[in-house]
Subunit: 341 residues, 2 copies
């Protein structure tokens, strides 16, 4: 059974204030004296008043909603980022409307339109596929994580530093040849920094190296088959050399590791492996795998800091828009485990 | 720059209808003739009208919001379930407000209160910790996934059948002793069916067996240390026997598999392993691992079917409440890989 809803009229009658005063309490409490605020607050408790937030959004425009567009939750990086963003509720109080955009421009656009119809105060986009210029044109606070960010605020891992860290660790392991395998990614995506970090470090220290740019496929089976071929090629090309493998993510590092362990019963000394991300698979692998860790809790936190500052600015009588988008860079953390020695 | 908002008055002026007619178009379109609906629809396009859904919720009470309370997104089972539920948007049109409840009763209660303040039409709770009787008392459509469900609608995997499937597969692999390792879970949780399925099958076919009920810990390191000890105990207790291990989930199956592969360079014939869930780790493991697969897309789908039927009923002039909660059971799927032969 629902109890009858308590209305502004009920509260006015109980407190002997006018309905206008009650309305002001909800939409602009500081326009009342502290004493009167206190009286109304006590009346709400006495009447067992349940707030109707929808009415409140309509009255003052503050929905406390933040929209999130995420490519998928299959990949640990995205699900963990969402986990961390949701946990900021305790600090910021924003509620999250979540859509999985499936890396499709038109789907993302449709979802953003839906979110705008619900008066979201801000938008977080993970690895958006629509250009940052288009995102900026929606004219609401937006923070992007990863990918191209020229026109919007963003938070990104320092991928270049990650590439340097991984390459330096392989160098210390006395490898004869350093090999980085990555997809043929565009130079304006943040992840391209990993390739630059690898190449710069190899060139600086005159380290023999090879960069393999190849599509390894989108499924586990495709990764397995592509890396199996690459493994054969490398064993034929560098039979007597100690090979230092810098893989672009922990999933690929794990597939390569499993191929080697199944072939040799262990990870041979001639192979050193480091991944990227610090996904659960890197510690759950048959041999715990060295990796460059992305600080996901910190990225989530910086994202909400940037977004909430913009959302707070919008609530001022005369908001000052940002002169330039702010780009925050979060340092990666090198994690040494048992696949580098 | 925001363009000026198009109001009902603007639409009324453009179409020469009254504002009441325009309002009826949005809240009860079938009360207008098709011809008039068409005229108003054309006017909306001409005026570039952007719907304010918040106003619409207030007018007709239909928020199109469904609340989701999920324990966390660390575990693949939860993140994949959320992924699948979010993807039902294309079919049902409901938007999802998501909270991570952290398996804490008070946190769950607080989040449900928040969700109710936003006029959610229904609620999905994954592995709720608050009793189903309390969830039912909120008096909104609720569907629970896993855990105790006496007073609410629910969707659950047939855990008993899963236990039978796993045990039968180990039996066919000619194991000398069948061993099931699980936590000491309560008999009213659905997952207890796995233990019952194991025991019933062993008793029916007079199979030598051992049930190990033990807390293996909440982190990867704790799992590793507990299972390492169990492995030693079992090798001492059954040195010459072929051991068929039914693990309660794929994470534990993977830890056991890794311990064996690191010790012997391969999975010895004396050990057979099957997990539960069909998590990604079961196919990404060093030796792809047999498992009892939960049909997560089907569970998500059945959940939305149950919930949307209840939500639709609430919109009728005279809703008929459910006489009894509906409990849907989804069959598990046995997946044979390389750890059972």
């Amino acid at each position: 059974m629902k109890s009858k809803k308590v209305t502004f009229a009920d509260i006015a009658e109980y407190t002997h204030f006018s309905k206008t005063t009650i309305s002001r309490y909800f939409n602009n409490p500081d326009s009342l004296t502290l004493e009167n605020q206190q009286k109304i607050a006590e009346a709400l408790t006495a009447l067992n008043y349940k707030e109707n937030k929808v009415a409140r959004i309509l009255a003052n425009g503050k929905s406390e909603f933040v929209g999130i567009i995420i490519p998928n939750l299959y990949m640990h990086y995205y699900s963990e980022m969402l986990n961390q963003i949701l946990s900021t509720y305790e600090t910021y109080g924003y509620k999250f409307l979540v859509f999985a955009g499936n890396e499709n421009k038109d789907v993302e656009r449709k979802y953003i339109e839906e979110l705008l119809a619900y008066n979201i105060e801000g938008l977080i986009v993970l690895s958006p596929t629509i250009p940052s210029k288009e995102l900026a044109a929606y004219n609401i606070p937006v923070v992007g994580i990863e990918r191209e960010d020229q026109y919007i605020c963003s938070v990104t891992t320092d991928n270049y530093m990650g590439g340097v860290q991984a390459t330096s660790l392989l160098q210390k392991s006395n490898c004869d040849i350093l090999i980085h395998i990555n997809a043929n990614i565009s130079k304006d995506t943040p992840a391209y920094g990993r390739i630059q970090g690898f190449l710069t470090t190899c060139q600086e220290y005159h380290l023999p190296h090879e960069l393999i740019l190849a599509e390894l496929g989108n499924t586990f089976e495709e990764n397995h088959s592509s890396l199996s071929q690459i493994l054969e090629t490398l064993e034929a090309k560098y039979p007597a050399k100690k090979k230092g493998m810098f893989m672009s993510n922990d999933t690929h590092a794990n597939v390569l590791l499993n191929l080697l362990v199944r072939k040799y019963g262990k990870l041979p000394d001639a192979w050193q492996i480091i991944g990227f991300d610090n996904s659960p698979i890197s510690s759950e692998a048959v041999i715990p795998t060295s990796t460059v860790g992305q600080q996901i809790p910190l990225i989530a936190w910086e994202t909400m800091e940037l977004l909430s500052a913009q959302m707070a600015e919008r609530k001022k009588r005369k908001p000052t828009p940002l002169a330039e988008p702010i780009h925050k860079i979060v340092a990666p953390v090198l994690i040494r485990r048992e696949t580098t020695r």
